[in-house]
Amino acid sequence: MADFLSAYSIQNWLESCPQGYLEGTEFGHQPGESEPELLAQNKILHEEALRTTVQLVVGERCALAASSGLINAAPDEASKRFLATQTLDEARHVEIFTQRLYDLGVARRDLESVIKQYANHNLVKFAGVLLEKVDKKDFVAGVVGQNIVLEGMAFTVFEMMHALNEQMNPKFAHVLSGTIADERRHVGFGENRIGSLIKEFPGKRPEIERMQKEMSYYMLATFADAFRNNPAAAEFDKLQQPQAHAKWQGVDLAEMPPEQMESVLADTVLKEFKVRLGRIGIEYQTPARP
């Protein structure tokens, strides 16, 4: 029984989310906000914005497939109802990040081809590992993969992106802010549900630990592809465009080369995985570094 969900209800979700931090927003941001002119004017920065946003759409499409797929695998009614609200959260995330692609100038007829062009193959493999568990209706592995590994990664990545965009792109920062609020519920469900369930199924641990290791590797490979040889920082330097200070995890991201940002992000996510998994009795497995 998911006792921690006793205070959770669809009503609570309505008052927190659509009537709370999303009230008055349009696609997650304030009405009238737009992308910075620089992104439309500069080809390199525009392409990097497209590439980044496509990864968000790919990740959220995976989360939508996973959370909806897990509803019928859930062993109790409270978890089914929670996953129903999570499914709507994830569908919203797919929509708002897709809308950002439109805002960046992608034509609706070109959406799928743009996603196919920029989707990172390591992120697609990351999603594949999770969706295989969901397809098998493996609730315990599916929730660890979805609500602890995927959502744990998203929670940290969105926080970092929020810090980077807070001053330079308030529109995108507002979009991210709402998704971070959603992720709090999702990681909370993952930890609390699995924290009690793993005690009932201790034999699942080795399989889950292998999945975490595999997903973590593909996550790190995605980070490596995203940060190494990323031309955006050099372009900012070339344009002599001052980057606003972006404090996160006690460092200033604006003063860091992309490779160092990759290292800070990877270390932060892996540390979080280790702590979260340790709390619920799953031994963190160190992935290979790409």
Partner: protein, 100 residues
């Protein structure tokens, strides 16, 4: 349920009565309106916790009670639905452990 402090661990003598706090709105809007004053966002390095506050280890939100918190207290984090137990951390600051 209103205050996140669900139960205090020990029956207290008059001379150890807990300090009371009046909570203001903090701009936190991730829970229904009547609960919003009980939470705030952690502002990172430079921020500090008052005697009625503790950070949720699951979602990193600061949980605020109308009463001073003490080790052994059981509290609830509404943004991530975690039930927590207050402990004294190694640094001498109050911390919270998740009770599954």
């Amino acid at each position: 349920m209103t205050d996140p402090l669900e139960s205090a661990e020990i029956s207290e003598k008059p001379d150890t009565q807990r300090q009371r706090f009046v909570l203001d709105e903090t701009g936190f809007d991730e829970v229904p309106k009547r609960f919003r004053k009980f939470y705030r966002k952690w502002r990172g390095p430079g921020d500090s916790l008052a005697a009625n506050e503790v950070i949720c280890p699951v979602c990193k939100v600061v949980i605020r009670s109308t009463r001073e918190l003490r080790p052994g207290d059981r509290i609830y984090c509404m943004p991530c639905m975690s039930r927590l137990i207050v402990v004294m951390g190694e640094t001498g600051m109050l911390e919270a452990l998740v009770a599954y």
